[in-house]
Symmetry: C2
Subunit: 97 residues, 2 copies
DNA sequence: ATGACACTTCGATAAGTGTCTAATTGTTTT
DNA sequence: AAAACAATTAGACACTTATCGAAGTGTCAT
C-alpha cells in the first residue's frame, strides 16, 4: 500500500507542473524561494527580478496552481514555500518514462 | 555539448527540456517511445496521433533539440529512442531545488 | 527512371503567454 | 478616516507556438 505522499500525479497536475517549470523566470523564482531561509515574500522576490508586481503575481499564481509552492498570507505579505513533495512526485513520474 | 552523465545540465538545456515536456502531446510521444519495444519510427507514432506528418516532425525536432530522444536514420525510417540519462539529469536538477 | 514511401521545410493562422500600465482590493499605520 | 503598503485584476500588446496543407528531399522497390 503506497503512502499518501507517494500517490501519482493526475494528468492535469503533470501538465500544469511542466508548464510552470517551462518559463525560465518561474524556474528561477522557484529556486529562489527554495534557497531562501524560511518562507519568502513576494516583495523579496520583486527585489530580485526586474518585472512589475503584476507580472510577479501572475507567475506566483502559476506556481501555486501547479501546487509547486504553498502560499500563506500574513497581513499584507505573502509567505511562500516550495512544496518539495510535489516536485518529488513529478520527478518520480519522469523517471518512469 | 555537455554529457548527460553526472554533469549538470546547462541553463539552456534545462529550459529546453522543460519546454519540450510542457506540451501534453510531446510528453505522450516521449512515453510512447519509451514504452516501445526497441527503437520506434515516426510512422508508428503517426498511427497513434491524429496530427499531420509535419506536426509530428516538429514535435520530434523539439524532443531531439532538448536531447530527450536519440534519432538515427535507417533508410526511409527514423529510429527513435529515449535518452534516459538526460531525463535523469533533469530530475536530479529539479530535486536540488 | 518512375513511383512510392518517410520524413522535412515553408508559409500561414489561430491560440496561448509574458509583460506592461492602470485601476482595485485588502491590510496596517498614523 | 486617511495614507501607505502589498498584492490582484483587467485590458492591451508583442511574441511564441501548435497546427495545417503544399511543396521539397532523400531512399527504396519495380
Amino acid at each position: 500500500m503506497a503512502k499518501a505522499g507517494e500517490a501519482g500525479l493526475s494528468e492535469r497536475q503533470g501538465v500544469q507542473i511542466a508548464r510552470a517549470l517551462a518559463d525560465p523566470r518561474r524556474y528561477e523564482i522557484l529556486t529562489q524561494i527554495g534557497a531562501h531561509d524560511g518562507p519568502m515574500s513576494c516583495r523579496a522576490l520583486l527585489a530580485l527580478h526586474d518585472v512589475s508586481a503584476a507580472t510577479m503575481s501572475h507567475h506566483l499564481k502559476e506556481l501555486e496552481g501547479a501546487e509547486l509552492i504553498a502560499v500563506e498570507r500574513d497581513g499584507k505579505s505573502m509567505l511562500l514555500k516550495v512544496r518539495r513533495k510535489m516536485l518529488k512526485a513529478y520527478t518520480r513520474r519522469l523517471n518512469k518514462i
